[in-house]
């Protein structure tokens, strides 16, 4: 280590911890709300693409593909300029949520496609109404199959919440950054932020993997 570098400063770390943790609340909130938006909007996109006509499928699918293959950070910038006056957290949750909705719509679609054809045929044979077929037969099986994938995306969204700091949301990394610059303690504040991410996402990933193994049986 060069002479220019200071080493880990325990005092600074102790001071940074409450600041970082205070931002963690916003991070969690953004994760939960963002994923709720993603889960609902993603399902809507998948259903519109799957159950509507060809034209509707394209009208929904093309914008979804555009959102999916462009950077969420630039989307945040664009939304920030296009929709002024909205609370940054609300705006951030909507943009991040819609971005992930375009991922989740693909996940739902794969799950719907994985429901055996015989299930549809059985519903036809029973003359079940269309709504009932989706709600009672297809979606429960489809969603169950894709639960682990949804979990993985939730963890992934959690790790992308720092992007919200570019539109001034006071989430954890924003707080860490601010503390780092005022106290010249980036090492301590960012290391703590990284540790919090690891401590929160790793057990969640393990849970998702357990779920995956159980559903695979």
């Amino acid at each position: 280590m060069g002479g220019a570098g200071s080493m880990w400063d325990m005092e600074a770390a102790r001071a940074a911890l409450p600041v970082v943790l205070s931002g963690f609340g916003i991070t969690l909130l953004a994760t939960v709300l963002g994923f709720a938006v993603a889960a609902v909007a993603g399902l809507a996109i998948a259903l519109l693409q799957r159950s509507g006509g060809r034209r509707l499928a394209l009208a929904v699918g093309a914008p979804a593909a555009f959102v999916r293959s462009t950077p969420v950070m630039v989307q945040l910038f664009a939304a920030w300029v296009l929709v002024p006056g909205l609370d940054p957290l609300v705006l951030g949750v909507l943009v991040l949520g819609l971005h992930y909705a375009t991922y989740l719509s693909e996940v739902y679609r794969a799950g719907i496609d994985a429901v055996p054809k015989g299930q549809w045929e059985a519903c036809t044979a029973l003359s079940l109404p269309r709504r009932r077929v989706w709600r009672a037969v297809v979606l429960p099986q489809a969603v169950r199959k894709v639960l682990p994938a949804l979990g993985n995306y939730a963890v992934s969204l959690f790790k992308e919440t720092p992007f919200l700091s570019v539109i001034t949301v006071n989430e954890m990394v924003h707080e860490a950054s601010a503390f780092g610059s005022t106290h010249f303690a980036y090492l301590e504040s960012f290391t703590l932020a990284a540790a919090v991410f690891l401590l929160a996402s790793w057990p969640t990933s393990l849970l998702v993997r357990r779920l995956e193994a159980r559903l695979a049986q």
Binding site: M1, G2, G3, A4, G5, S6, M7, F66, S69, T70, P71, V72, M73, V74, Q75, F77, A78, V81, L82, K159, E160, P162, F163, V166, V173, S177, G180, Y186, L187, F190, T191, A193, A194, A195, F197, L198, S201, W202, S205
Partner: protein, 251 residues
Amino acid sequence: MTDSGTAVFLSELGRALPAIGEGLLVTLEATALGAALALLVAFALGLASRSRLLVVRGAARAVVEFLRGTSLYVQLFWLFFALPMLGFRLDPMACGVLAFGLNYGAYGAEVVRGAIAAVPAAQTEAAIALGMGPVLRLRRVVLPQAYALMVPPFKNLLIQLLKATPLLSLVTVADLTFRIDQLRSATGGTAAAYLLLLLLYFALAALLGAGMNALERRAKARLGVVSGPGGRGGPRAVRAVPRAGRAGGGA
């Protein structure tokens, strides 16, 4: 946008074109270097996590979990802001390439591991029956088949990596986002600049996707699997080979 606003935007855009071109090159460079490093990391960690030695396997797993669990955003900021405090200062571009390579390499390691595991055990058995040693089996039999399974997920990771490159603009690298943000300031903060930026990224992603689709088609053709262009190739696609593997019982 008003008509005069449009005119201002277009004339400023014309003036900024060379700078935007440079930014585009920087973005492409970061994507290419990051992807190259990620590929290296993916194979190193992916092969190590299949090692027979528990220590090697465990270490590889731990590194993968660490790199995946700590958020790319934080990793980049840590390299850029925190590492200098330990006395190491990296060029901002190097910070980006390192963060992209390590983070996406960790995700890629799971792809490599999974693809190798998905090659039927009977293929390895046939190679053993022909007297091939472990290295030869991996190189000549397992990896060429696993490769076809890796291409589609690698395509997703590559596009994810491209979409992460605007982070560079936050650490002073003059990438595409950085240049267009300058254009936006010069044109009085209109959203048109960002819409243009989104279109540019969309085009880049489409190009990369098309390239990877071509690779996928070639890989599948070599395995004798027929599929539509860019078809969804899961592990199932390789099962054109007769189903393999006999569980313990024997005849």
